[in-house]
């Protein structure tokens, strides 16, 4: 276990992804260490979802490598160790939350106690017997999150899990993420809401398929001499753009 902890939970080397004819990820390399809560921030279209798909092994990649827990992303051995919550809730709308979780629990090889516990975690136990199609958007995305928590995977990839939730619930969910990390899990959580950054141990900032920064929030603010994440992003983006146009000259 100790030896395993030393290598990163997720190691990405020179990753390139082409979707359609566009280069969506351009030579990204990052390490994400065990037991950390990492925020993936970037505007819509910056490649957050694509990067996450590459980590769970759902994305065809054009080059480079993605290694999760020491194995190539998407390996059969990894499928019960990596939980993935897609950006739009991926659950069966015609089934109830409980029926959905029953099915996904069977796939994860866990029982009813675990279903109860994840329903509690995402605060859905009151409405677990309603068909998902009759739930609100935020409730649906919590069903989707609950399904990924079944079997307590070591690595959790959560694509904008808090979008459209009320602030109280958002805080609760970030508390849940924190407690999962305390329990030893590694979480990568994407968001285009920059103020969720305070909640993370480290931040990865993406723009147009490239990494602008990968560091802690205080270090980032210090380096960019800014007061908030939004400002830091702008400062970094401007620096990149200026150096690009100088290169061209």
């Amino acid at each position: 276990m100790a030896a395993k902890r030393q290598e990163p939970a997720i190691a990405i080397r020179d990753l390139r992804v082409i979707r359609g004819s566009r280069k969506v990820i351009q030579d990204i390399s990052i390490n994400i260490s065990h037991g950390s809560l990492v925020g993936l921030l970037g505007p819509s279209g910056s490649g957050k979802t694509t990067l996450m798909r590459a980590i769970v092994g759902a994305q065809i990649i054009a080059g480079g490598s993605v290694t999760v827990l020491g194995k190539t992303a998407g390996s059969p051995e990894l499928r019960s160790d990596v939980g993935y919550v897609t950006q739009s809730p991926s659950v069966y709308a015609d089934l109830t939350a409980h029926e959905n979780l029953q099915y996904f629990a069977q796939l994860a090889g866990v029982g009813n106690a675990e279903i109860k516990s994840v329903l509690k975690t995402v605060d859905l136990h009151d409405i677990a017997d309603r068909p998902v199609m009759n739930l609100s958007g935020g409730q649906r995305s919590r069903v989707s999150l609950a399904a990924a928590l079944l079997g307590t995977p070591e690595v959790l990839i959560l694509d904008e899990p808090t979008v459209g939730l009320d602030p109280v619930l958002r805080k609760d969910l970030w508390d849940v993420f924190r407690s999962l990390v305390k329990g030893g899990a590694t979480l990568l959580v994407s968001s285009h809401v920059m103020d969720e950054a305070q909640r993370c141990d480290r931040l990865i900032m993406m723009r147009e398929g490239e990494i602008l920064a990968h560091s802690t929030l205080p270090a980032l603010l210090k380096k960019t001499k800014t007061k908030d994440v939004e400002g830091a992003f702008l400062a970094l983006a401007t620096t990149v753009d200026t150096s690009r146009s100088e290169e061209k000259r």
Binding site: R79, S88, Y92, D94, L95, E99, Q106
Partner: protein
């Protein structure tokens, strides 16, 4: 393959179908309505002396087409929804094996097919007074195989499809040629040789051949049943092999 995960998948698919009244009606009531219509359609056609009443010869052949058509459409739509809702992506990132998913679907729809065939036969015999010379059980076997064939062709088509739009396009592309040249309208040997060869590649041809042979009182339809099973196995393998965990 993991039998428990396959069974879990079949159970989940059945739960979804049961919840969906319209699909249940489409699968269970629609064939009966169409067969009744067929019977009604032919009521004023005089039957030449010595020939079979038209419904008695046409009805059983239609019993091969309807289950296959309906099961194909329902399977395609169900798997298309799985793709659009993102649950397919989730399943492909889960420990579920591709074969568990495909066989789970086949099992669920196979059970539905048995109920459907039972209803069709019972209704045709008791309400529509179908006169069928051949063995009813064998007719039932062919109808069930035919419905399962519709399901597995639907699974193969949706595995092959790379996009949602392609999945929709597969529906008419797979079904329409079979409706026309598998022997429903014209005996296969009465068609030009080229079409006869093409029809030999279409699974529905063998279902209709088998039913024609039963209707003529010849119960030796094992070769047709064998070919249908071979098509089913082939389509299952195709569906499993072409399903992709990684997509662009």
């Amino acid at each position: 393959m993991t039998p428990s995960l396959m069974a879990a998948t079949a159970r989940r698919v059945l739960q979804q179908i049961r919840r969906d009244r319209r699909t249940v009606a489409l699968l269970m009531v629609m064939p009966l309505v169409i067969l009744s219509l067929l019977k009604f359609m032919f009521t004023d056609i005089p039957v030449p002396p010595g020939a079979d009443p038209t419904f008695d010869s046409f009805g059983p052949r239609l019993m091969a087409l309807l289950p296959m058509l309906l099961m194909f459409v329902v399977t395609s739509v169900t798997t298309l929804r799985e793709r659009i809702s993102g649950t397919l992506e989730r399943l492909m990132a889960s420990p579920l094996r591709k074969a568990d998913l495909v066989l789970g679907y086949a099992l669920a729809f196979g059970l539905i097919a048995i109920v459907q065939a039972g209803l069709i036969l019972a209704f045709s015999l008791s309400v529509l007074n179908l006169n069928f010379a051949g063995n009813m059980w064998l007719l039932g076997v062919i109808i069930v195989l035919d419905a399962i064939l519709g399901t597995v062709l639907g699974l193969a088509a949706s595995s092959l499809a790379r996009t949602e739009f392609q999945a929709v396009q597969m529906m008419p592309a797979v079904i329409l040629p079979q409706v026309l040249i598998a022997g429903l309208f014209l005996p296969r040997d009465a068609m030009p040789a080229v079409l006869e060869w093409v029809s030999a590649l279409l699974p529905l041809s063998y279902a209709i051949d088998g039913i024609n042979s039963l209707a003529a009182g010849d119960n030796n339809v094992w070769s047709e049943v064998g070919v249908l099973i071979a098509f089913i196995v082939g389509a299952l393998v195709l569906a499993v092999v072409t399903l992709r965990r990684r997509t662009a």
